[in-house]
């Protein structure tokens, strides 16, 4: 068994939970297979290529307990405030992986959703969503843990030919008030033919103990659908977030994906997209800001599996303090994917000598009629520009903030949901102000 002894306590405790979680119901093969694979792989180490910059020693150091949610209705009011983050969205609240309908927006007919028991619902939605081997083959080890441990998975279905005006907001809250916790979620979403929807996933934590949140989200976007997907992580309170989001895009579908990683001790996001039908298009935007000792790691993979698809990635990062940023952008163009257009750009600003960025494009091109480009830059704020602003009376700190805002606004301004745009804009401004003088 390839197990690092430093993590054996963690794995033992997760196994305990896995074996005993289910009372009398039999654990499904799906979960058991996931567990076995997780245990075979173990926790990645610095030698694992996809994780080489990530220090996971906290998993061995912190006494994590798998989150048990005890639902006392008078207690759950304390989560009310999370509904006000985006008041106009359709808010779906999850605490420690459990969906709380009492706190969530009242159901509306256009959006079908439910929380399903993984073991009893054997014909499971995830089999539709997760079938694609391209994604399966390099699964994030923590997603296996999520599949093994999550006994309820959440399912959203958007019918064909509907436009959902209200963005759907999945709020994942970790409550670590009593102990250090790990919590997992699994969410499967299907978007019907020619339908349109905006999805937002956010991560928060309450309570002062450490919290590790693992989210696995699988999305099938059917023919000619249009999806905008936002992920926002901004929690500075001893939190670790690891997520995997998989998109299967069918013919003619459009995806705009935004990833805002603004705060968190560790953020690792895997975003995998299979352009599974011709004429589909993905635009990926990312903005990350690592300061203090934060580490933010974005791994994207785009599989061009069909002809006439295009993908466009713009990820921008700001690294301050002793923060570390990682961008790994993989583009695979398969043999049949003629007339592919694939662009990737990663730009970084380093605000201190101790900040680091590791950026790596990974291109595998197996078709001949392909237009593909990638570029990465990293450097300090432009001295000439700073001087120009200061020579007009603007302080050094404010000049920095103006330039950083300009850098970030390039991404933020593309957010069409204005309430979310304002929220992100404010979060980013706060970060800039607190980092202005270092």
């Amino acid at each position: 068994m390839n197990m690092n002894t430093g993590f054996s306590k963690f794995i033992d405790s997760m196994r305990d939970y896995f074996e005993n979680s289910n009372g009398t119901t039999q654990i499904s093969d799906f979960r058991r297979n996931a567990w076995n694979e997780f245990e075979r792989n173990g926790i990645p180490t610095r030698k694992t290529e996809d994780w080489k910059y990530v220090n996971l020693s906290f998993i061995g150091d912190i006494d994590f307990n798998y989150a048990k949610f005890i639902s006392k209705i008078n207690d759950i009011r304390k989560y009310d405030k999370f509904r006000t983050i985006l008041p106009s969205a359709h808010n779906l609240i999850f605490v420690n992986g459990v969906f709380l309908p009492e706190l969530s927006s009242p159901a509306i007919p256009q959006i079908e959703y439910c929380s399903l028991n993984t073991d009893t619902m054997l014909v499971n939605f995830s089999n539709n969503v997760n079938l694609n081997n391209r994604i399966k083959s390099h699964k994030n080890p923590f997603s296996l843990l999520s599949e093994a441990l999550t006994d309820n998975y959440f399912s959203i279905r958007i019918e064909d030919n509907v436009t959902i005006e209200t963005p759907i907001h999945l709020i994942n809250i970790l409550d670590s008030s009593d102990e250090s916790i790990i919590s997992t979620t699994r969410c499967n979403i299907s978007i019907g033919k020619n339908s349109e929807v905006s999805l937002i996933e956010t991560n928060y934590k309450t309570g002062n103990n450490a919290g590790l949140g693992i989210n696995l989200t699988n999305i099938i976007a059917d023919n000619d659908s249009r999806c905008t997907y936002y992920k926002l992580q901004s929690d500075n309170n001893n939190s670790y977030f690891i997520s995997e989001t998989n998109f299967l895009q069918n013919r003619g579908s459009m995806l705009d994906s935004f990833s805002f990683s603004l705060d968190g001790k560790l953020i690792r996001n895997d975003l995998n997209i299979v352009l599974n039908g011709s004429g589909s298009e993905s635009n990926l935007y990312g903005l990350y800001f690592a300061d203090g000792k934060d580490l933010i790691d974005n791994h994207t993979s785009i599989y061009h599996a069909n002809p006439d698809c295009s993908s466009n990635q713009t990820y921008k990062g700001i690294l301050a303090g002793s923060g570390t940023g990682i961008f790994n952008g993989k583009i695979v163009v398969e043999e049949d994917a003629q007339r592919t257009k694939a662009y990737q750009s990663n730009k970084n600003i380093l605000l201190s000598n101790d900040a680091t960025i590791n950026t790596k494009p990974q291109l595998e091109i197996n078709a001949d009629d392909v237009r593909c480009s990638h570029g990465a830059t990293s450097g300090r704020l432009d001295e000439e520009s700073l001087f120009y602003l200061r020579s007009r009376g603007i302080s050094a700190d404010d000049a920095k903030i103006l330039l950083l805002k300009a850098f970030a606004d390039d991404i933020i301004s593309k957010v069409k949901y204005t309430e979310l745009q304002d929220l992100i804009s404010n979060l980013v401004s706060e970060k800039f102000t607190s980092n202005g003088n270092n």
């Binding site: 001087f387 602003l389 200061r390 020579s391 009376g393 302080s395 050094a396 404010d398 103006l402 390039d410």
Partner: protein, 248 residues
Amino acid sequence: MNLLKISKLEAQIDGKQILRGVDLTVNTGEIHAIMGPNGSGKSTLASVLAGRDGYEVTGGSVEFEGKNLFDMPPEIRAREGIFLAFQYPVEIPGVSNANFMKSAVNEIRKHRNLEPFDALDFLEEMKQKAQLVEMDKSFMSRSVNEGFSGGEKKRNEIFQMAMLEPRLAILDETDSGLDIDALKIVAAGVNKIHGKDDAVILITHYQRLLDYITPDFVHVLYNGMIVKSGTKELAFELEEKGYDWLKG
């Protein structure tokens, strides 16, 4: 009143001596022109006065209204009233001209114990000053200098100067690259802004500008020193004879 007093100023960049003892005194109400061959140190002098990084002052002193200039970071110099119109204005993508000017103007107003402009007052102010240099208001929402033509950039410098109302404006080759109409507009702008309480230093290669802005003094900076000073006539002489006759 004495505004700027430069005494025996020496400065280096990357260990290379550029200014070798510059003496220059500027009083309120005056316009000084500085001419001189390429590479003689004109922009260096302007940069040292504005506080650009990378220059090492190795000797001499500069006082602005009696205060040691080198005690002040660039933004304080600007707030105290020094304005440099750049020879090569910088493009700043993503920062709008309006937003930039609003931050700058309000910093300077704060420094002068004036209330900050609210949005409406600021817009009005901006409109007036843009008219002064005949700049279309569409430039205000564009990113600072981004995609501006050479002449538009220079005009934007004069617009900023009009907005900030400096005590001492240093114009580094603002006339270069301007067509004759633009030159007239820029000159008219400078003349309108200039009054008895402030002063202007014009760095230029061309006597032509001095047809529109009449200097009280003309200086020749040569190899890091002011080797000759005179009145407007000196500019004509330079136009005719070049700089060789001044060689030591």
